[in-house]
Subunit: 671 residues, 3 copies
C-alpha cells in the first residue's frame, strides 16, 4: 500500500463552490501556507451525476490536474454523503425513517438509508466512475468514502433486513428467545417476522436492552457493508491506495473497531469544545490509534479557528491550533488535515473557521498561524511517520459495552462510559504514562502490558473474562471497577456472586451497589499497604463489597456501609487484581496510578512540570513530543542524550524549557 512519505497538511476544499478566479488565488495562498493535500469533493454527487447514469467529471478532472501541477495531492472523496435530490425523489426508499417513525424528506446531509438497494447501486456506480478516472492519478493519496457515517434508520427495508440478520445470528427463534430473555414482560416471539425494530413507537429502544443492543450491532454491520460497497470498487481499480471513511467526534453510534477493520486506516475529525481539557483529545487520539492495533491514524479534520455549531463558538486562541496539531501527531497521527481551506459563502457552516476566511487574503491571524504550522511540518518531513507509541499500559474500551451500559436501567441515570474512561485516562495522562486503548476480545494479547485498566467493564463477551484472568495469572496487573463483570453479550446478568467471571480473580463479592445523587458523596479511608495516605472523596456508585480472598486497601468512611471495603487488592497467580468499587476523586486516581506506575515501572522517563504533556513515538528513530499546556513557561528534564530539536535543529540535553503554550519536538536516531 502506498502511504505518503511526509505529513499531509491541508484539508477540505470544495471546488464545486468556487469559480476559476478563486481557484487561481487559492493556489497562490496554498503555496504560502505549505498546503500539500486537499480533500475533495465531499458533497458533489449532485454535480457529478446531474441525472441518473449521466456523469459530469470534466470540471473535477481539470481541478485535480491543476492542483497536481501545483504539487498538491488529493484525498479523493466519493461524494456519497449527500445524494442528489432527483435520487430521493425518484426512489423514496433511499430516504431513512427516524426513530419516531417519520419518513424523512430530502434535505440536510447524511440523509440516506445505508441498506437502501438503490442507494447502494448508485453509490457503487459513482465509485466506479471515480475508480476508472483517478485510481492511478499521480495526485491520488487516499480514497475518502462518504463522510461521518452514523445515521440510524428504521425503514421497512431495515426492518426486514434486521429480521434476517437475527435469523442468521441466532439460528432459531428458540435461541433468540433465550438470548433475549423474552420471558421477561411476556415478549416471547414465535416467528422472526414478529420482531419489530426498537423505536420510539414501541419504546423498546429504551426498555428492551437486548433488542436495542442487537440493533446497534446491526447498524454497525450494515454501515460497514455500505462502506465496503464503495471501498471494494475503489480497491478493484488500485489496491495500493489507502481507503478510509472519517469518524465523527460523536463516536458512540458505530463500533469503530468493527468499522475500521475493513478500512486501511482509522481517520477522525477532532472538534474539541472550546476550553475542553486537553486529555480528552489525547484519549480520543489514543482510541483512534487503538482501532488499528497501534497503527498511526489520519487526522482527517480539525478547525483552523472557531466552529459555528458549538453553543458558544470561541475563537481558537493564538497557538491553539498548533498545539492541537502536535498533540495529534504526538499520539500517532500521520496527517494534519483541516476542515476547511476556504470558508463557504453561505449555508450552515458559513461561520466555521477556515484557512482562507471571507476576507479572502493572507493577512489574517489564522492564515499566519496555519502557514507557520505548514512550514514546520514541511521541515519535519516524514521522520516519525508510521512510528509507534510504545505503551505498556492498556485501557480497555468496547463499543458493545458502551451501548449496553448506558442503555441499562439502573442503578444510576448518570452512567457515562466515555466520561469514566476519561477520568482513568486523565490520571494516567497527567503522569505522562503512555496508554494504548485496547478492545477486549477473546483473543486479545495483553502480554506486552504491565498494567491493564478496565473501567466499568460491564459486559464480558465470551472469553473476555477468561483472557483477562489468564493475563493476571501470568503476572499482569489489572485494575477494574464498579459496574464490571455483570452481563453477557446479550445483557443477561451473570448469575452467582458479582462480579461474575471476574470474581475469583478479584477475590471479592459485590453484594449491592448504592447510587448516590449528584450532590452526595462518600469518603475513602486508606488502609495499610502501599496506598498513599490521606482522605479521598468518592461518589456516583458505591459497591458493598465482601472480601473473598482479597485484602481491603481502602474502606468507606460514611453511610451504613462505613468500614466496608471500597478498594481491594488480590494476588491471583503471579499477578495482582485491583477493584475500585466506586467513582473516586481525580486526586485519588492520580495518586493511585502514581503508586502503581512506580511499582510497575511504567512511569514516564521524562520528568516534566505539571501541565506538560510528554509523548514518544518510536520507529526507525525516536521522537519526543513535549507540549506545554500551561500559560507559563515550564521545564522538563530529558534523561537521554542525543536529542535534536527537529524544528530548530539544535541539540537538546538535560533540562529544557518550553514557553507558555509552546511545543518541542525532539528527535533522535535509534541506537
Amino acid at each position: 500500500m502506498k502511504w505518503p512519505d511526509h505529513i499531509c497538511f491541508g484539508g477540505d476544499y470544495s471546488p464545486e463552490q468556487w469559480d476559476e478566479a478563486t481557484f487561481e488565488e487559492d493556489m497562490r495562498l496554498f503555496k504560502l501556507a505549505h498546503v500539500n493535500l486537499l480533500t475533495l469533493p465531499v458533497f458533489a454527487w449532485a454535480k457529478l451525476e446531474p441525472e441518473e447514469g449521466v456523469y459530469d467529471f470534466a470540471w473535477l478532472d481539470r481541478f485535480i490536474d491543476r492542483i497536481w501541477q501545483n504539487g498538491i495531492q488529493v484525498c479523493l472523496a466519493t461524494s456519497t454523503c449527500s445524494q442528489p435530490a432527483w435520487l430521493s425523489r425518484r426512489y423514496p426508499e433511499v430516504l431513512p425513517v427516524d426513530i419516531e417513525g417519520r419518513k424523512r424528506t430530502h434535505g440536510m446531509r447524511a440523509f440516506f438509508c445505508v441498506n437502501s438497494p438503490k442507494y447502494r447501486e448508485r453509490a457503487a456506480a459513482l465509485a466506479h466512475e471515480f475508480g476508472k478516472r483517478y485510481a492511478h492519478h499521480p495526485a491520488l493519496a487516499f480514497w475518502h468514502v462518504s463522510n461521518e457515517y452514523g445515521t440510524k434508520c428504521y425503514c421497512e427495508t431495515c426492518q426486514k433486513k434486521f429480521r434476517r440478520w437475527l435469523e442468521k445470528r441466532y439460528g432459531s427463534i428458540e435461541e433468540l428467545n433465550a438470548r433475549w430473555n423474552t420471558a421477561f414482560w411476556g415478549r416471547t416471539v414465535y416467528d422472526f417476522d414478529e420482531i419489530m425494530l426498537p423505536t420510539a413507537c414501541n419504546d423498546d429502544y429504551r426498555f428492551q436492552p437486548a433488542i436495542e443492543l442487537d440493533y446497534q450491532r446491526f447498524v454497525t454491520d450494515t454501515t460497514r457493508e455500505c462502506f465496503l460497497n464503495e471501498a471494494e470498487v475503489l480497491r478493484s481499480y488500485n489496491p495500493e491506495i489507502p481507503v478510509f471513511t472519517n469518524i465523527s467526534g460523536f463516536i458512540k453510534n458505530l463500533d469503530q473497531f468493527a468499522m475500521t477493520q475493513v478500512q486501511d486506516a482509522a481517520a477522525w475529525d477532532n472538534y474539541p469544545a472550546p476550553g475542553e481539557a486537553p486529555h480528552i483529545a489525547a484519549l480520543k487520539h489514543d482510541v483512534m490509534r487503538g482501532l488499528k492495533g497501534g497503527r498511526s491514524f489520519i487526522l482527517a479534520e480539525q478547525s483552523p479557528n472557531q466552529q459555528n455549531w458549538q453553543p458558544y463558538n470561541k475563537l481558537k486562541r493564538p497557538g491553539e491550533v498548533r498545539r492541537l496539531t502536535y498533540q495529534a501527531l504526538a499520539h500517532g497521527a500521520d496527517t494534519a488535515l483541516f476542515f476547511q481551506m476556504r470558508q463557504s459563502a453561505a449555508g450552515q457552516e458559513k461561520f466555521h473557521g477556515a484557512l482562507i476566511s471571507h476576507a479572502g487574503h493572507e493577512n489574517t491571524r489564522v492564515f499566519r498561524e496555519m502557514a507557520q504550522l505548514g512550514g514546520e511540518l514541511e521541515r519535519l518531513g516524514g521522520c516519525f511517520l508510521g512510528s509507534r507509541v510504545g505503551a505498556r499500559t492498556a485501557l480497555l474500551m468496547d463499543w458493545e459495552n458502551w451501548w449496553a451500559l448506558e442503555n441499562s436501567s439502573g442503578p444510576s441515570r448518570d452512567m457515562d462510559y466515555l466520561d469514566m474512561l476519561a477520568r482513568y485516562y486523565e490520571a494516567l495522562w497527567s503522569g505522562n504514562v503512555a496508554v494504548d486503548v485496547v478492545n477486549p476480545r477473546e483473543d486479545t494479547d495483553y502480554s506486552r502490558y504491565s498494567l491493564v485498566v478496565a473501567p466499568m467493564l460491564y459486559m464480558t463477551r465470551p472469553g473476555v473474562a477468561e483472557t483477562l484472568c489468564g493475563y493476571v495469572r501470568q503476572g499482569g496487573t489489572l485494575v477494574t471497577t464498579t459496574m464490571s463483570g455483570l452481563v453477557d453479550e446479550n445483557d443477561r446478568c451473570v448469575f452467582g456472586e458479582y462480579p461474575g467471571k471476574l470474581r475469583e480473580m478479584l477475590g471479592i463479592w459485590v453484594e449491592e451497589t448504592d447510587a448516590l445523587r449528584p450532590e452526595e458523596h462518600n469518603g475513602m479511608r486508606m488502609l495499610k499497604g502501599g496506598l498513599p495516605e490521606g482522605a479521598y472523596a468518592c461518589d456516583f456508585l458505591c459497591d458493598l463489597i465482601h472480601l473473598r480472598g482479597a485484602e481491603a486497601a481502602a474502606e468507606y468512611t460514611d453511610d451504613f456501609y462505613k468500614g466496608m471495603p471500597v478498594v481491594t487488592r488480590n494476588t491471583y497467580g503471579q499477578g495482582t487484581a485491583w477493584y475500585i468499587g466506586t467513582r473516586p476523586s481525580g486526586k485519588f486516581l492520580f495518586d493511585f496510578f502514581s503508586m502503581l506506575g512506580s511499582s510497575l515501572g511504567i512511569g514516564c522517563e521524562v520528568c516534566a512540570d505539571p501541565g506538560v504533556e510528554v509523548t514518544f513515538r518510536e520507529g526507525e528513530g525516536k521522537t519526543l513530543f513535549l507540549i506545554n499546556h500551561n500559560g507559563e513557561e515550564a521545564s522538563a528534564a530529558i534523561p537521554e542524550k542525543g536529542y535534536v530539536d527537529l524544528l530548530s535543529g539544535k541539540a537538546v540535553e538535560g533540562k529544557c524549557t518550553i514557553g507558555p503554550g509552546e511545543v518541542l519536538v525532539l528527535g533522535k536516531t535509534k541506537r
Copy 2:
C-alpha cells in the same frame, strides 16, 4: 367472599422465566423467608397461548400444584398486560395510537387499546381458561387482572366510541354544546361525528378543558369495562375469590374511586422515591383505604431493595423495608407483597431489588431482612386483619377535580393537587391525627367526622356543595382553601361572587386571586381569636377576600392587598367554616390543625416524640402501631392499659421507647 386469615407475605414470581432446578432452590428459600403467597404469572400470555386459541397451561398447572404442596398460596394474574406479538401482528387494531397520533408498534408492555374488540375477545377467552382451571384450586387466594392499567389511546376505535359515549352522556348535540361552552373560540358542533379526540394533533388536550375532562372520564369508564371483561368471567367460575387489579403509584390517569367500585379490594404498588418523606406513603395508603370506604386494602407491590427506574436508585437502608411494611399495615393494608421474589436475569428491571438476588443465595442483607419480616408477620397472624382505622377527620379527594384543576389555564402553572393534599395531610399526620380520604359526592355522609378538610375543591359536582353545607349547618367543621368552588362538572365557572356555592357557608367573597412566582411570598398576620400567634409565610396564590359575614382570622402583611383577610372563619348553622385563601407554610398548617385538633378533640390519644407515627386499627381488638422515623430512639406514652407487644409478647404500659427506625406493634383485646 373468601379472604386470607393471615397477612399474605410474598409477591411477584415469574415461573415462565426459570427452570426446574431454580424452582426447587426457590422453594427452599421461600420457606426460609416465610413466604406464603406468590403473584403470578403477570406476563405469560405469549407462553400460555402460543397461537390463537391454542393454550399451554401444563407448566402452570404443575407449578401451582408444587407451591401449594409447599403451603404457598397464589395470587393468580390473568397475564393480559402484555399481549403476544402474534396478536398485535395479526390484529393491528389491538395496538394503541398515542397522543401524538402515532400508531404504536408491538413492544414494551401495557401496549394495547382497552377498547379493541379483538383484545377484549382474546383477554376474555384467556380469563375463561384461568377460570376453568384454577377457580377452585385450594391455592387460589386472589385473582389479579392485568397489571397497572392506565394507557390512554387515541385510535379510530376510541374516537368512534368516545362519540357514542358523549351521545349517551349528553343526549343531544345542543346539550353538549352548552355543557362544553363551545361558543367560546367558535367550537360549536352540529354532529357528534364532528368531535375529534383531544390530542397533540389539535392541542385540545391542553386548550379545551371540557373535552379533555370528558375524555379522561371516558378512559376511566372504558378501562373499567376492560377490567370487568375479565373479572366477570372469573367471578362466574367462583364468586368467592376476590378480584382486583393493582394500581400504579402514578395514579392520576384513572379515577380510582370509579375503578375500585367494581373490584373486590383496592390494591396498589408502593414505590416511594428514595428519601421521600414518610407522610407521602401514609397519604397514599389512606387514599387506598378510602377507595373502598375504609375497607382494608392489598399492598400488591413494594420493592425489597432499590428500584432500577428511579434517577438514582439508592439502596433501601437497613430497616427501611420493614418500616415501610408496618406503615402500610398501620394504615389499613392486610397484605405485604413485593415485586419481586427473584431478580430477573435480563431486561428493563434486571437491577430491580428482589428477595433472591442474582447471587442466588440467602446470605444477603436483603434476604435476612425479608426473612425476619416474614417471621414477624407470621407471628402476628391475622389479629388485625379487616380491622378499621377510626378516623374522625376526612380529607376530600376527587379525581375529576384533580384533572380539571391541573388542566385549567391560570392563575398559576404550578397547580399541583396531590402536592396540596400532601401539605394538608402532613400537618395532620405530624400530629398523628387519623385521616380518612373521602370522595365528595352528592350522597357522601360526613356525619362521623368532626373535621372535613377540602383543599382546592375547584370543581363542585352536583350536590357536593349542598352536602358540605348541610354538614356544617349541622355542627361540622370544614376547612377549605383557595381555588375552591369555582367550576361545575364541565369546568364551567360558577357565576356570581366566588367561591360559588360555598360562598354563603364561608361568608366571604373572593374577588381576585394573585399568582406569585416561585421566589415570591407574602406574610400572614394572625388576628385575635384563638389562632396561634406569630408570623407565617404564604406563597403560590393569594386570594383577595371580602368578608360577607365571616370574620378575618389572619390578614396579609404585604403587597397592595396588605391588611385584607387571608384566613377567615364563619359560623354557619351549628358549625364552622374556615377558608384559607393562600398556600400557607407547613408551620402554619401544623399550628392551625393543632389548635383545631384540640378544640375538636380529634388529636391522638398517644403522646409521642416528634417523628413517631402513631396509628390505630380497630376491629375485634385494637392494634396500635408506633413507627419511629427518627435516627434516634424516641418515646411515647401509652395512655391505656392492657397493651401487649405483639412481636415480643411482653406487656407494655405507660411510657415506652422505640429504637431508631424501629417499630412497635401493640395489641389489646377490646373490652
Copy 3:
C-alpha cells in the same frame, strides 16, 4: 376613509356566548364604564354558517342594532379565525400540516392553512355576507379580519405553491442554485419540483438558512393574500371603513411591514409579561407606529387584569392598566381596546381578566379602574387623534434580518435581535429620546433624522447599505454594531473584509468575532475623545477590529485582543459613523447616547426625574404625556408655557409633580 373622532374604548365581546338577560345587564355596565366600541364576533363562524352556504346572521343583526341604540360602535370581525368543524371534516385540505409533518385535526383555533383554496373560498363568501349586511351600518367603525395570523403550514398545497413562488422569484433553477448557494453540502437541484419545504422531517428549517428564509417570506406573502382575500371583499362594499387584522404580541412569524402595507392601520395586542420593564411595551408601540410610517395605530387588545396563559398570572396592580393605556396613547395609539369585556364562562381563557368578571357586577376593583379610565378618555375626546411623534432618532428594524440572524449558525446561540433592539432602545428611552422605528430599504429617507441606530444589521438587502452611506455622507450620524453588514438577502456572506458594504463608511475591518459564554465578559476602556470616562463591561460577542481610517473610541481590557478597538468613530463625508463591536452594558449605552444626544441636540426638552417617561404627540396641537413609573412621587420641569392638564383642566407651568404610578396628559394649542 372614516376614522373615529374620539378614543375608542371597549374591546372584545362575544354575543354568541351570552343570553338576552346578560345583554341587558351588560349594556347597563358598558354605560357605567364609558364603553363606546365593541369588537365582535371574533369566533362565530360556526354559528354564522351552520352548514355550507347557509347563514344565520339574525342574532348578530339584532345585537349590532341594540348596541348602536346604546351609542356603542362596533369593530366588526369576520370570524374566520376558527373555521367550523363541518368545514374541516368535509374538506380536510383546510387543516394545516405542522413542521413535524403531522396533519392537524380539527380543534384549537387558527388551525387552518392560509393557502387552502377551500378555506379562502368560504372565508371570502363569509366576508361577502358581512359586507352586504353591515358595510353601511352606522355603528360600523372598523373591519377586523380574522385574528392574530401566524400559522406556518407545511401541507401539500403549500409545498406546491412554494415551488411556484420560488419559480417566480428566481426565474430559473440556475439562479436559485446560485442564490441559495446549493453547492454547499451538495444541495444542487435541477427542477423546482425537487424542492421540499424546510421542516423537521429534513431539518432544513435549521440547517439550510436560505430555504428557511424564503419560506418565511412565502408565509408572509401568502398570509397577506389570505388577509386580502377578505379585505378586498369588505372594501368593495364600502371603501371608507378601515380594515385591519390584529398582530399578536409574538410578532416574529410574519413581516409586519409587509402585512400592514395592505392594511389601513397597524393594530396590535399588548400583553406584557407581569413585571416586564416598561420600555419593552414602549418599543413595541414604536414598532407599531413605525409600520405605517409614523401613522397612529390601533391598540386592539390589552387585558383589564391578569391573563391566564402566563406561567404566573399576577394581578395587574392598581393603576397599572391606566398607566399601560396612557403609554400606548403616548406612543401613537388612537384606541384603547381590551380583551375582554365579559369573562368567558369556560374554556382556555376563563380566568383571563375582563371588565365584567364572573362576579357579574360593577363593584370590583377592575371595573372601577376601567370605568375611571373610560371617563378620562371620554373627557380627552379626540384632541390628539392622528397626531404624530416628532422623533429625530431612527431605530432600524427589519423582519428579514431578524429571521436570518437568528437562524444563522454561530458564532453564539444567544442571538436575539429583539433583545438587542430593546437594549439600544432602553438607553434612548431612559433619556426620553423620541424614537421612530424604521424599516431599512433601498428608498428609505433618513433625512429627517439626526441619528440612525442600527443594531445587528446582519443582512443588508440591495441598496440598504448604499442608502445608509449616503445618509452619513450628507451629515448624518449612524451607530451600528457587531453582526452588521455580513450577508445579502439570501444569507450569503459578503466577501472581502467585514463589515462588507459598511466597511468604507465605518473605516474598520472586523477580522474575527469571539463568542463569550453567558458567565464571561470583557471590559471596555474609554480612550480620549468625547466619550464618558469610566470602565464598562461588555459580553456576548467581541469583534477583533482593525482601524482602516476610523479612530478607536474604546478598547478591550482583557483577553488576547486586549488593546484592540471595541468602539470606533469615523468621519465619513459630512457625517459620523460609529461602530460598537460588542454588546456593552446598559450603563455604557445610556452614557453613550446621552453624550450623543447632547451633541446632536436630540435630547428631550422636558427635564424629568429618572423613571418618568416623557412623550410628545404633535398635530393640530401638542400633547405632552408624563408617566411616572416609580413607586414614589416624581417631578418634571415643563420648559414651555401654555400647557393645560387635559384631565383636570388646570394650567401647568414650570416644575410639576406626578404621583407614584400616576400620569399627566398636558395639552397645548399650536402657536
